[in-house]
Amino acid sequence: MVSLFILIPFVLAAFLPLIEKISKRFLPDLLTNLGILFLLIYTMTYGQQIVALERGIRQLQWFNEQLNITFALDGFSLFMLFAIYLVSFGVTLFSIDYMEHYGNKGIFYALFMIMVGGMSGLVLATDLFTIYVFLEVSAISSYGLVAYGLKHDELEASFKYLMLSAVATAFLLLGIMFIFGINGSLKLGDIADRFASGEYRFVIGICTGFFIFGFGLKAALVPFHSWLPDAHPSAPAPISAMLSGLLIKVSGVYALARVFLNVFGLNPAISTVLMYLGLISILVGAILALGQNDIKRMLAYSSISQVGYIILGFGAGTNLAIMGALFHILNHALAKGLLFLNSGSVEHSTGTRDLDKMGGLGKRMPITAATTVVGSLSVAGVPPLNGFWSKLFIIIGLLQAKAYGFAFAAILASIITLWYYIIIQRRAFFGKLKENWKDVKEVPFWMAVSTIFIALICIIIGIGFPVVISNWIEPATKVLEQGINFAMRWLRL
């Protein structure tokens, strides 16, 4: 049943604090990890069956009475669910050991499951307002999670994030209100139907502006990115990995792609705007990442840059560009999650995030150093890791769309990305071992297991990418390419 994707996270979240009171030792960890592992396997088996049938919509039945909930489980949603559960599984494995710092793991896991449940609901929704509600679910739980450590930095970062996000979602709701005023119904299929006739171009223009502001702030596109370099470094490391790897892509990029490609239709105006926003994000993120001393802040600016690549791919609109953008969502989620988890490992062992103070840690922490190398090369786009293929597809797609300047800038930014990741490697892990790090220990068991797991998946996807593409990304690309027709035919129920 498709509803398991939403029921399991919420039901687990409801009971986890009580379970923690019963047994603090291992039961919350075990239940959370098993829950996410089950959902991951469920996506891969049951989800593939459903998508292969090419039917987009499921309707729930409850005791022989029609419960009017419809889920949109098409190729794009399934691919996002796969990415969500894969990265969440690695993060929950990591937080078994890491969250011992913070205590009260029951509440942490409960908030985490609510965030995962909110993201699952967002990708499965067929109605624009439902997308908004689940976006707020995962946003509210992320406000609590960013401030989880209760120190001054974290509270300040969470407060600024809350303020900016509340304004953005209010404007988002204004855009939804305009659409409601013209349409009367908020289902994606009906909106696509009504707007296809072309007499509402002005309204589409206004709503595009509001949606780019609202979803663009959640996706950290460049004029609206200022909350990210504060919120992502201050959060605990597993939450930084979740936010940077998943939340900005599910709340921001998925919603943008769904609305602009399936509902509004990709006309040249929207395409140009998206491509320019993507380009500015790539360049600003890459350049600002160079001057940072804090390892997590550098990774946060790099996230801004990579999301720019994804939006650039979606804006270009050709088949290969969309395929590259989708693939990059998965790759960047895995690699950036891995890098943030490793920065958490470094902070756990040495107590600092400042690159000036680190040096030569590779000798004492070989697993962390090796997995960081894998993650960095993946984001920078070095073959044969997964990041290379997705960036290649985006660049070839741009060349096909005759956007030569954009392709050149994308390649340039890729070189800058490689440069600053090599800086991280050299300053943190290689080089001379400083005196005070002489008896630094390697990370505990579960943290090592989770980072090795994600690194292996990066390598496997990099080498076996045709399999991944034909199974997961082809259906998603087909959905997005059909544009308005997909929404009108399938998302109408």
């Binding site: 710092h101 509440i107 609510i114 909110g118 609901g121 679910v137 509210i140 009367g184 002005f202």
Partner: protein
């Protein structure tokens, strides 16, 4: 009827302005409550009875209680807000209204209000429970997220962290 409607709108805007400009936090929260009551009256004029009742009980009730209890918990030294916002506020306000009227009068011609009506079931219960069921699941999620976030922010540490 028109006069009463205009008075409600005026009350809403005036109480919002008071909530911004008053320096004492408690009185600002109370004027926010006044604005909520006027908004609920406007909802009643537009026949949105359920929304009006919900607005009064939740926004004018629960949120005001939250604000007042927070203000009561915080005894802070009074720092001087700069006088600038209060002085230049009337100019800004007139400027807002002019820009707003200009934008909307430009938009009036371009916003067609279509004549078609989407059929709706007869009672509110049917719409709320039948058409918008997925939103209700979302609302449960929101309440969980809010409650757990507040619990997480006020938790007692069992070890030092």
């Amino acid at each position: 009827m028109q006069i009463l409607y205009l008075i409600s709108i005026l009350g809403l805007v005036v109480f919002s302005i008071l909530a911004i400009l008053i320096k004492d936090l408690l009185k600002a929260a109370l004027s926010l409550m006044g604005a909520s009551v006027f908004l609920a009256i406007i909802f009643f004029f537009m026949k949105a009875y359920y929304a009006g009742v919900f607005e009064i009980s939740v926004v004018a009730g629960l949120i005001t209680v939250l604000f007042v209890s927070t203000i009561g918990l915080i005894r802070s030294d009074d720092f001087k807000e700069s006088k600038m916002p209060t002085i230049i506020f009337p100019l800004f306000f007139i400027w807002f209204i002019i820009i707003d009227i200009l934008i909307l009068s430009a938009l009036v011609s371009k916003f067609p209000l279509p004549g078609f009506k989407v059929p709706e079931p007869n009672t509110f219960g049917e719409v709320f429970w039948h058409n918008r069921t997925f939103d209700l699941v979302g609302q449960i999620g929101i309440i969980f997220a809010g409650v757990f976030s507040v619990l997480a922010l006020f938790r007692k540490r069992d070890k030092n962290g």
